[in-house]
């Protein structure tokens, strides 16, 4: 569905990606791992055209995404839960969900909002609060809900559970599992290995802007594997 081949990218003069390759099968969950600063977020930015790829190819459903406008890329059905949440602070919870929704028709949209509020009851309690005032965890839920409201084919989560309490983390993993079972394709970046292994079909590790390892959960779960070496100190 989404295929990155040997992607390179830089911020101005500083090159950050040196060859990232990823293949996401339709309906699968892929995880992107790596220590801090290895280029995970940059990879995501490059997919959305926020950072210009200087080499390699990115295709979604067979069509190239390179040099496309960000909003056009998103309109193809890719949604992002960004690092640092980036909810719209001056909009309330419901407005955050509705503003960029791609469901047409008020009734359809209302149903979708209800679904999200079901998924995260905490948000229902805060529905008229400005999202800038929500606690960190509440904002993360809202960011996920906002992404789902665009009815995406591919959902990308950058730091899916950062700052979330264990019980919420569990809910988010459960939600992702459900979305997966409904056939959604998911790319997730996170640091908690255990749940990633359970939910992910395929894993990639970035080291210094390069795909250093790609494999299955079983290999990652083995504490003595090469993959674990790459993630440790």
């Amino acid at each position: 569905m989404l295929k990155l081949e040997n992607v390179t990218a830089s911020y101005g003069a500083v090159q950050v990606l040196f060859g990232v390759s990823l293949t996401l099968e339709k309906g699968s969950v892929t995880t992107l791992l790596g220590k801090n600063g290895m280029g995970k977020s940059t990879t995501v930015r490059t997919i959305f055209g926020l950072t210009d790829a200087i080499g390699g190819s990115i295709t979604f459903e067979g069509e190239s995404l390179i040099h496309q406008k960000t909003h056009k890329i998103a309109q193809r059905g890719i949604a992002l839960v960004p690092e640092g949440r980036q909810v719209f602070p001056t909009l309330d919870v419901i407005e955050n969900l509705v503003a960029t929704s791609r469901y047409r028709g008020a009734a359809r949209r209302r149903a979708a909002v209800d679904e999200i509020l079901n998924l995260f009851p905490r948000l229902a309690e805060r529905r008229t609060s400005f999202s800038g005032l929500l606690s960190g965890g509440e904002q993360q839920m809202l960011a996920i809900g906002r992404a789902l409201m665009t009815d995406p084919k591919l959902l990308i989560l950058d730091e899916a559970t950062e700052g979330l309490a264990p019980n919420i983390r569990r809910e988010i993993w459960a939600a992702l599992k459900r979305l997966k079972s409904e056939g959604m394709t998911i790319l997730v970046i996170d640091k908690s290995l255990k749940p990633l292994c359970r939910i992910g079909d395929q894993h990639s590790i970035l080291v210094k802007g390069k795909t250093a390892w790609t494999g299955l959960s079983a290999e990652l779960e083995d504490p003595s594997s090469e993959a674990r070496q790459l993630l440790a100190l």
């Binding site: 959305f48 926020l50 406008k69 960000t70 909003h71 998103a74 309109q75 949604a79 992002l80 960004p82 980036q86 719209f88 602070p89 001056t90 909009l91 407005e95 955050n96 509705v98 503003a99 960029t100 929704s101 791609r102 400005f130 800038g132 005032l133 906002r146 992404a147 665009t150």
Partner: protein, 307 residues
């Protein structure tokens, strides 16, 4: 006496509504999009001039007002594409300087094209007379039309910003521009359209205010600061707030001018009163603004609470 007060209240209301008309576009560009546009007054001035030009060409006041709005809309679009869009991500200061440059350019262009002699924007016969209101108050018909137009625009704008997704998207884009496009919205186009809409409102206000104010180069600056005052007192981004603030400012200013001197002269000597009365009257609006910001720094009806 009662009639005098009633009539002055009406004057204040009318002035307030006029202020709202002028400030309406600014609540979009400054209040919602968070772009400091000093050239808003120039858009207002262009509206007045375009309407005079269109009146000469078409001979119809209403058509001229609409044409003026359309003209300024196009101008706003041009400015957005050429300048404003490069500045959203920059500091407010850069916006101040660029739009200050635009003021200079606009005033100079206008006086080169139309001369610096004030022009008069004509009115159709039916509007140039006065109507007798209840209590036997004669009131200029056109001023009543302005009041009507102000209310209409206030309601339309309120619905647009608070009740449509366009409003939400603009508010979202003001703080997290890239995020909006990551969510699949063409923010560049949206901002251009809203910026131009703000200009359009300024242009309409100029066309409508033309018959009430002097149409001359620099006419925008006298109203510019007042419109900023109105937007800020009302609470950034709040249409309701701007409307409320405009009415309060209009009433305060008019009542101050009308009664402060007499009020003071009942306390102080007439010479002191006639010296301080007008002074205090012109300060009232700014004193109000200082007080509002002191006690409610986010304005009367705060819309944007930042995290």
């Amino acid at each position: 006496m009662f009639e005098l007060i009633a009539e002055q209240l009406l004057n204040g209301l009318q002035y307030g509504i006029l202020l709202f008309l002028i400030a309406a576009g600014l609540t979009l560009i400054f209040g919602v999009m968070d772009f400091i546009n000093l050239s808003h007054g120039s858009m207002f001035m262009m509206g007045a001039y375009f309407s005079i030009l269109a009146q000469k060409l078409t001979g119809n006041f209403l058509v001229a007002v609409l044409l003026a709005g359309a003209g300024v809309f196009a101008l706003g679009m041009l400015i957005e594409v050429l300048l404003a869009r490069r500045l959203y991500a920059r500091s407010h200061l850069d916006q101040v300087l660029v739009t200050y440059g635009l003021i200079l350019l606009a005033n100079e262009s206008v006086s080169t094209i139309w001369g610096s002699v004030p022009l008069y924007s004509g009115l159709p016969e039916i509007l140039s007379g006065h109507i007798t209101l209840p209590l036997g108050i004669p009131y200029p018909a056109y001023r009543l039309v302005v009041i009507g137009a102000g209310f209409t625009i206030a309601i339309a704008l309120f619905l647009l910003i608070q009740r449509t997704r366009i409003g939400m998207l603009v508010r979202a884009g003001a703080t997290h521009r890239t995020m909006v496009s990551v969510m699949g919205v063409n923010i560049g186009f949206l901002f251009a359209a809203v910026f131009a809409l703000g200009a359009l409102l300024a242009g309409l206000a100029g066309a409508l205010a033309g018959p009430l104010l002097s149409v001359q180069p620099g006419m925008g600056e006298t109203v510019l600061i007042l419109s900023f005052v109105v937007v800020v007192i009302g609470g950034l981004g709040s249409i309701k707030g701007a409307f409320l603030a405009a009415i309060i400012v209009g009433l305060l200013d008019t009542m101050g001018r009308a009664f402060l001197r007499d009020l003071l002269s009942s306390i102080f000597s007439p010479s002191v009163a006639s010296d301080t009365g007008p002074a205090l009257a012109s300060m009232l609006v700014y004193i109000l603004m200082a007080l509002v910001l002191f006690f409610r720094p986010e304005g009367l009806i705060p819309m944007q609470k930042r995290a």
